[in-house]
């Protein structure tokens, strides 16, 4: 008995000591983590939390003509857009643009992402790099590129006219069509990246197994590949949607003043009409819209995941 007890007692002592030691280490670790996090948190505080708080406070001020900001606490800045059909239309247009761009972008990016995710080629890394290479060029430059391609005398119109297919140039720019085309291309690399990282559960073995059990290629795709890649598709859609509804440059440059979305409206109010409180209120509305979408997305992914 004693022979057996001694090692156990020793073990117990060691356990307790180790527990204390672990706790001390944990405390020290926590301090270290906190210290390491501090620069980042401070950075976020200065660059994100403070401006956001300032913007929210600004949205309750009153904007007088000439850019005068009357320090007060009013809900007028919110009541105005929420009761004005024009701003409902702008919000709806923004939402519609986000959904359209999101769907189209996912549709055109999906085959590319699927190919890249399944590829076993030794050039896979290079191919992925090529797919996301457009990110190296700024969205402004790419938007200008689209202006050249889609313009009245642009590549598409002059080719179609040259081929005798059209007499008058198609209106491909300075409207929502141009903005949609531009945005889909600009956000493709993001969608591809989001999908590749979201295709985690996709494996060729599962497809092979389905095939060996007699499923046709189409069935393999609809019953195995597509459901397994759905989380990736959803993530890509959400990412593109969020980017699209907050984007400013492309609707501004390719919209020709005819595309009025929340971002262009905020820009006009801020820099053109100098109504910062109103612009801040619109920004908060946009932010709330983001929040709602993300909440819906999380519900959806939980459903799909569960």
């Amino acid at each position: 008995m004693t022979l057996l007890q001694t090692p156990i007692a020793a073990e117990k002592r060691t356990d307790r000591d180790e527990g204390l030691l672990e706790k001390a280490t944990e405390r020290r670790n926590r301090r270290t983590y906190l210290a390491l996090l501090l620069p980042g948190l401070l950075g976020l505080l200065v660059s994100f939390v403070f401006p956001l708080a300032y913007m929210i406070r600004m949205s309750f001020n009153k904007g007088a003509p000439d850019g005068v900001i009357v320090e007060t606490f009013t809900l007028d800045t919110y009541i105005q857009p929420l009761t004005d059909p024009y701003y409902w239309r702008v919000t709806l247009d923004t939402f519609q643009m986000g959904v359209t761009v999101g769907i189209l972008c996912v549709l055109v990016s999906y085959p590319v992402a699927l190919f890249l995710a399944r590829s076993t080629s030794k050039y896979r890394g290079l191919l992925i790099a090529i797919a996301i290479a457009p990110l190296l060029t700024s969205a402004v430059v790419r938007t200008y590129g689209w202006m050249v391609i889609l313009g009245t005398n642009g590549l598409i119109n002059s080719s179609l006219e040259g081929l005798g297919l059209i007499d008058t140039p198609l209106k491909l720019t300075n409207n929502m069509t141009g903005v949609t085309i531009g945005l889909v291309e600009i956000f493709m690399p993001y969608a591809i990246l989001a999908m590749i990282s979201g295709f985690g559960r996709l494996s060729p073995q599962l497809e092979e197994a389905a095939g060996s059990l007699g499923a046709s290629k189409f069935k393999v795709f609809t019953r195995v590949t597509l459901p397994l890649s759905l989380p990736g598709l959803l993530t890509a859609f959400l990412l593109v949607f969020v980017l699209a509804i907050s984007t400013f440059i492309t609707p501004r440059l390719l919209g020709g003043g005819s595309v009025q979305v929340l971002a262009t409206e905020i820009y006009d109010q801020t820099t053109g009409l100098l109504n910062w409180p109103f612009a801040a209120a619109l920004s908060v509305i946009l932010l709330v819209l983001f929040g709602l979408i993300i909440a819906v997305y999380q519900r959806l992914t939980k459903k799909i995941g569960g």
Binding site: T32, G67, T152, G256, G272, L274
Partner: protein, 360 residues
């Protein structure tokens, strides 16, 4: 050993946090005042692009040659409204000394107490600025003048169009660019259209709106990009609104592929004022710069470079330049667009354009 490394990491992290706080919040602390009329620096805020290039070459470089100890820091903005935003943001701790901006916006700045009054004691060349180009309360005077013009493709129009009516001509539908308000060009077109419809725009613009609605379907873009001139030069459009000064400049640049004219129904002045910021960090050097900007030498050089009309009476322009800058002697039919009125109408007119005129 582990503890020492961790301690070091903690120390480094704390130090970087402290550095971040210092760099983030200490911006204003180092702005020591160095106020001298002949040395130091002047922080100027003015227009970007070709305006900045030409103003730098015609005015700032010669100024620097004359006052080698004054450094000019040029902060460029796309519009006067953006300049005003920047100045409003710095109101409690001004970082800018001089602002050159549209008078409709500088009037707002004057009202908001962003600028200080200038007099001939601080700015001797103010004596050469005629009364009509001085602010009645003594704030920044007019620095240069221009006017809204009709920009056209010279291949389509070998003769410059005579009337603004050409914008309504179905023959050019789809080939027109019009800058919608809040752009000053669009606000000016609204006033011009009201005048053409026999309407007093200060009382209402219903008739103008009806006319502009008729024009809108033929407009290709309400926000021309890269700008209103390049659109015509590259053949995207054949007609558009534009400013005379830049229009003249780009006409030369494009080898006369584009022209600019003042139609007979009249046009609206676009006036820039030069303003000294209140409590400017380099107030004395700022006044030296403003004085130079109002010198006959600087005014003539800028007129030659970018075709802005001088605001001083002693600037002598060569005949070929004079013919291309906007006349300020009363010979041009001008639609007066009162800045006081404009500041109250800007929001309303912009709203009307967005809701009623701009087509999708």
């Amino acid at each position: 050993m582990r503890a020492t490394i961790k301690g070091k990491i903690t120390a480094v992290a704390a130090l970087s946090a402290a550095a971040l706080v210092l760099s983030g919040c200490g911006g204003g602390a180092g702005a020591a005042s160095n106020d001298s009329a002949t040395s130091g620096e002047v922080n100027l805020i003015a227009y970007s692009g070709v305006w900045q290039d030409q103003y730098t070459a015609a005015v700032i470089e010669p100024f620097k040659a004359k006052y080698p100890d004054i450094k000019i820091n040029y902060a460029s903005k796309r519009s006067s409204a953006e300049m005003l935003s920047a100045l409003q943001g710095q109101k409690t701790n001004p970082a800018t000394d001089v602002a050159i901006m549209d008078n409709s916006v500088s009037t707002t700045g004057n009202k908001q107490g962003l600028f200080e009054k200038v007099d001939a004691a601080g700015v001797p060349n103010l004596a050469n600025v005629p009364e009509k180009f001085r602010d009645k309360d003594g704030y920044g005077p007019v620095a240069m003048l221009d006017a809204v013009g009709l920009v056209y493709d010279t291949a389509t129009f070998p003769q410059a169009p005579e009337s603004w009516d050409v914008l309504w001509d179905p023959a050019y539908a789809g080939k027109i660019n019009v800058n919608a308000p809040p752009s000053l060009l669009g606000l000016s077109l609204t006033a011009i259209t009201a005048k053409m419809a026999g309407e007093d725009y200060t009382k209402g613009i219903d008739a103008a709106v009806t006319r502009l609605k008729e024009m809108a379907p033929g407009v290709q873009t309400f926000a021309p990009n890269p700008d209103e001139y390049q659109n015509v030069i590259t053949g995207q459009t054949v007609l558009g609104l534009g400013q005379n000064a830049r229009g003249q400049f780009y006409s030369d640049q494009s080898n006369k592929k584009m022209g600019v004219t003042f139609p007979k129904e009249g046009t609206v002045y676009q006036i820039n004022t030069i303003n000294v910021v209140k409590d400017a960090p380099h107030s004395a050097a700022a006044k030296t710069f403003v004085d130079y900007a109002l010198s006959a030498e600087a005014q003539t050089a800028f007129a030659k470079a970018l075709f802005y009309a001088p605001s001083v009476s002693n600037a002598e322009l060569p005949a070929d330049v004079k013919a291309r800058v906007v006349p300020t002697d009363g010979s041009l039919n001008i639609v007066p667009l009162d800045v006081e009125f404009l500041s109250s109408a800007r929001d309303k007119w912009t709203d009307i354009w967005k809701r009623q005129i701009i087509t999708k």
